[in-house]
C-alpha cells in the first residue's frame, strides 16, 4: 500500500487505534477478574471494533479496488500500522489495562468532539456516533482507577505502578504526525496540542479521589503514528492476523 495520501493515512491512523485497542481488550475475553468486568471489557472492545470497521470501510473506499476493509485490517505489516504506541501496550495486570483505557478515554472525549467539527463528513459522523460510547468507557475506567487507587495497599500500589508504566506513552497523543497537521490545516481536524489542557483536567480529579499521584516523568516515547512500534506490536499482529495470513480472504 503506498502512502502519501494524507486523508487515507489519517483514516488508517484512527482505524488502527480502534482495532489494536479493541484487539487488546478482546484478549481479556474469558480471562477477566470477574464475569461482569470480563463482559465490560469485551463490550468496550466491541465498540472499538465497530468503530474500526467504519473507518476501514472508509479507508478501503479511498484505495479501492486495490484494497478491502479486511486487507487493510489484517494484511498490512507492522510498519504500515499508524496506531499510537499506547494502544498496543500489553494488558499487563488488570490495573495496567485500566490505566491504558483511562488515559485513552480521557483523551478521546475532547478529541472526538473536535473531530465532529471537522470538514470531513465521514470522520465527523463516526465521531458523533462514538462520543456517547466514550462517555461510558471513561466512566468505567475512572471508577476502576478510583476503586483500585483507594482500595488496599496492594491495589493502590498496582494502580500507581500501572499509571507510571504507561505515562511515557501519553505524550504521543498530543504530538502531530504529518497527516494530522494536514488534516488540521485542510479539513479543520483536531488541534492535538490544544487538547492537552482538557485532558489533564480530566485526569486530575480522578487521581485526587483515588489518592494517586500524577506521574511527573518528562520523557515521552513516540513513533507509532509513523509506523515505528514497540516490540509488543509484532506479537499482537501475529495472533490477530493469523487466520487471514493462513487462509487469505477467509470469511465467516
Amino acid at each position: 500500500m503506498s502512502m502519501g495520501n494524507e486523508q487515507l493515512e489519517y483514516a488508517l491512523h484512527l482505524a488502527d487505534n480502534a482495532l489494536i485497542l479493541g484487539q487488546r481488550l478482546g484478549e481479556w475475553c474469558g480471562h477477566g477478574p470477574v464475569l461482569e468486568q470480563d463482559i465490560a471489557m469485551t463490550n468496550i472492545a466491541l465498540d472499538y471494533i465497530g468503530r474500526a470497521r467504519l473507518l476501514y470501510q472508509y479507508a478501503a473506499g479511498m484505495c479501492a479496488p486495490e484494497s478491502t476493509e479486511d486487507q487493510l485490517a489484517f494484511m498490512r505489516n507492522e510498519w504500515e500500522y499508524r496506531n499510537v504506541l499506547l494502544a498496543e501496550q500489553p494488558n499487563g495486570d488488570f490495573a495496567q489495562t485500566v490505566a491504558r483505557q483511562f488515559y485513552i478515554e480521557a483523551f478521546q472525549i475532547d478529541y472526538l468532539k473536535a473531530l465532529q467539527q471537522s470538514g470531513d463528513a465521514t470522520f465527523s459522523a463516526i465521531a458523533e456516533k462514538s462520543i456517547k460510547e466514550t462517555a461510558y468507557h471513561f466512566k468505567w475506567a475512572s471508577e476502576w482507577v478510583i476503586r483500585l487507587g483507594d482500595g488496599t495497599d496492594v491495589s493502590h500500589r498496582k494502580m500507581q505502578d500501572a499509571l507510571e508504566t504507561l505515562w511515557p506513552y501519553t505524550g504521543e497523543l498530543f504530538r502531530e504526525a504529518p497527516y494530522e497537521s494536514w488534516m488540521r490545516k485542510n479539513l479543520n481536524g483536531p488541534d492535538l496540542a490544544a487538547l492537552y489542557t482538557a485532558w489533564s483536567a480530566r485526569l486530575q480529579p480522578v487521581f485526587t479521589l483515588a489518592g494517586l499521584e500524577l506521574p511527573a516523568g518528562q520523557w515521552m516515547q513516540e513513533g507509532g503514528k509513523t509506523g515505528r512500534h514497540t516490540e509488543h506490536m509484532g506479537y499482537l499482529l501475529a495472533e490477530m492476523q493469523f487466520m487471514q495470513r493462513a487462509y487469505p480472504g477467509l470469511e465467516w
Binding site: I39, L54, A135
Partner: protein, 164 residues
C-alpha cells in the same frame, strides 16, 4: 423521519415485523433505527442507523429487511447512516412497555432524567417487582445497549436498557 403515505404504508407494516435479533420483542420501528423509507421506481430505499457502532445485529437486520420487502414482491436497497446518532429517545412509547414485560427495564426519556446520561445512575425500577430499590452491578451487560442491575427487594438481577 419516514413519511407514512398510502404508498409506503405496506412497507412500514412489513418493517414492523422485522425484529431485533437480540431483543425479539422489539421491531426495528420500535427501536427507532429506521431513519428513512422511500419508494422510487418500484424499489424501496431504506436508511437504518446502528444503535452502537459495534452492534453485531446490523448485518442480520439488513438481510431480514431485504427478505421482508421481498415478500411484498419488491426490492429493498438498504443503506446505513451514522448521523444524526441514534438515541434511546427515538424508541417508540409502546416499546417501553414491551421491554418491561420482557423483563428488561426500559430507558428513561433523556429529558426526564434526574442526572445527565452516564452520570450518577437514576433510580431504575425493577421490571419484575417494580421496586426502585435497585443497584448497578455493571454499566456493561449482555449486549452493548444494556447495563446489569440487581433488585435489592426481590433480589433478582435484571437488564436495564441504558440511556444513550
Amino acid at each position: 423521519m419516514h413519511q407514512v403515505t398510502e404508498e409506503n404504508n405496506s412497507v412500514l407494516e412489513v418493517l414492523d415485523t422485522v425484529m431485533d435479533p437480540e431483543i425479539p420483542v422489539l421491531s426495528i420501528l420500535d427501536l427507532g433505527i429506521v431513519r428513512d423509507v422511500r419508494v422510487e421506481d418500484g424499489k424501496v430505499y431504506i436508511a437504518i442507523t446502528p444503535t452502537y457502532t459495534g452492534c453485531p445485529a446490523m448485518h442480520l437486520i439488513e438481510m431480514e429487511i431485504r427478505a421482508a420487502i421481498a415478500q411484498l414482491g419488491q426490492e429493498a436497497i438498504v443503506k446505513t447512516v451514522l448521523s444524526p446518532a441514534w438515541t434511546t429517545d427515538w424508541m417508540r412509547e409502546g416499546a417501553m412497555k414491551k421491554l418491561s414485560q420482557y423483563g428488561i427495564a426500559p430507558p428513561k426519556r433523556i429529558a426526564a432524567m434526574q442526572h445527565p446520561v452516564c452520570g450518577t445512575p437514576d433510580p431504575i425500577a425493577c421490571p419484575l417487582c417494580a421496586s426502585v430499590n435497585t443497584e448497578v452491578i455493571s454499566e456493561f451487560g449482555s449486549t452493548a445497549c444494556k447495563a446489569l442491575y440487581r433488585c435489592r427487594d426481590c433480589r433478582e438481577p435484571f437488564d436495564y436498557f441504558k440511556c444513550h
